[in-house]
Amino acid sequence: MKIGPLNIPLKEDFSLKSILGFEKTPVNMLVAVSVLAMLAMLVIGVATYLMHGHHAYNVTREHPWGLLIAVYIFFVVSSTGFCIVGSLGDVFGFKDYTMISKRAIFGSIVTIMAGFTVIAFEIGHPVTMMIYNVLSPGLTSAIWWMGTLYGLYLTFMIIEFYFLLNNDMKKAKVFGLTGLLVGLAAHSNLGSVFGFLNARTISQGVFYPTYFILTAFITGIFLSFIIMGFRYKLNFDEKTKKLLEGLAKIQGLLISILIFFVTWKLLTDMYGGMPNRAEVAGHILGSGSFWTEVILAMVLPLLIILKDFGKSPVLFFWASLSGMVGIFFMRYNLVHDTQLKPLQMMKTREYQLPPEWVHYFPSATEIMISLGGLGLCILLYYIGTRAFNLDEEEGH
């Protein structure tokens, strides 16, 4: 398809009919119905938000960031992860990984678009944001840098994808490398949104800006297994098996480093019983959601990799699904745990109990918009698989 000077090579049979013409197997039908249900939830959630604003959310003065912030982080981490995995082949030249580059870069575009959709309904005034981000930029704000760099990153990813589609590997490499660097900068800035919170001793410091990059790579590998699993319906050919075995081995190393990081983070948090920090760490260790994150995103996938050093891609596909559920809890815990401890510890009303832990559970609207973001992401990805040839082309 030609749009001005641009040549976008769409699949010849791409049409509404080809989108709806998927094989009607029970699994496909289940996914299709789930996506439709999630999109319906997005519509209902957004309509409720437009009628009631932030009152439709369970965020409070003490817990101003809720589920939507966690889901935004979940999507942008996924995007950065896809970008890192996609760059292995087309930027760094690892031949075994080239076959996933185009698919992963497309994944990075759809995940960040889903993230932007979700955050648009969390930021109270998104239009004001777009105006004053430019007219009155807060250069000391990690949110400003994160948002601006992610905007640039999306632009570079789209340009890289365009050149990948046209098999212009040289230009794809240039824009891929630029996009990767901007993406990593954006992503570590997202970590610093938490790392710069001097008042929140549990988050403050260098940990999150670096941890975000590590967990992005891990997320990218989990997602690579999932998209390749669906692409090949779990019947992987030899070349794909080689790719996935390599990725699984890298994943084993990354998860081990992550466990090492998290262990030391919690040990330093607990050590010496520093006020606020140690009690929050103790509270985290006693929470079910933290252990869900540990088991689903760390222990289970690592054990499966260690079983035969990544030679069971089908098994690791399932472990990757569990891993992504764990990664969701990781993001939710990060946001919630940061706000666990009230900043004002005296009671302000008579007959009131002194403040303790801050409680939060997402509202139905927050849950619907979050699931809607997931539905949108899957839908966009599916349309992409119908519109573009996301496989590696022979001879390149």
Binding site: R61, W65, I123, H125, M129, G138, T140, A142, I143, P354
Partner: protein, 187 residues
């Protein structure tokens, strides 16, 4: 231009909450327990009769500390939070995008969302009301029956607050965070 601050002789506070009422009345602050620009903190009284620990029952009036190095200002992505000509930390509701980063970054929990504008609000030292009318006191100070609060120009060596800070020992809340608050608690 002045550099306004406030000294609080907090041990004189009797928790009558007249300051909270005056603030809401003067500045049109919404009713509701979580919609307040200022508040009086109260510890649980320790001990049991007859050995009640009277010293633990102190009240601690608090509000935005109008920090010289305000974390809320640093984290604001659109500079909606700014220092005005009197070094008062203010919020420009036109620019506020309600990302809530400032609410998370403020070590004193001094910010809340105003449901009318759906933007973040906080104490302004009565800049839009009393100071704008040329008065030199805040509503909370003016109404306090035990004269807990002294508001004034920290740069004026002859002001009452400067005199108080020269002659009375004082501390700031969470001073270790380096925010340089302009609320001083007299001991």
């Amino acid at each position: 231009m002045a550099r306004y601050g406030m000294a609080l002789d907090y041990k004189n506070c009797i928790n009558c909450k007249a300051c909270e009422v005056a603030c809401k009345e003067e500045n049109g602050v919404l009713l509701g327990a979580d919609k307040h620009r200022i508040w009086v903190g109260q510890n649980e009284v320790k001990g049991e009769w007859p050995l009640i620990d009277i010293a633990s029952a102190a009240f601690l009036p608090s509000q935005c500390q109008h920090c010289d190095e305000a974390p809320c200002q640093m984290v604001c992505p659109t500079n909606a939070t700014y220092y005005d000509e009197n070094h008062v930390v203010r919020v420009d509701s036109e620019k506020c995008i309600l990302c809530s980063y400032c609410m998370n970054a403020c070590p004193y929990d001094a910010r809340y969302v105003d449901s009318r504008t759906m933007t973040v609000d906080k104490c302004t030292f009565c800049s839009d009301t009393r100071l704008a009318r040329g008065e030199t006191t805040t509503a909370c100070q003016n109404t306090c029956p035990t004269k807990v609060r002294t508001f004034g120009d920290l740069d004026d060596p002859n002001s009452e607050i400067s005199e108080l800070l020269r002659t009375r020992e004082h501390f700031s809340l969470k001073a270790n965070l380096g925010t340089k608050p302009k609320l001083y608690y007299l001991t």
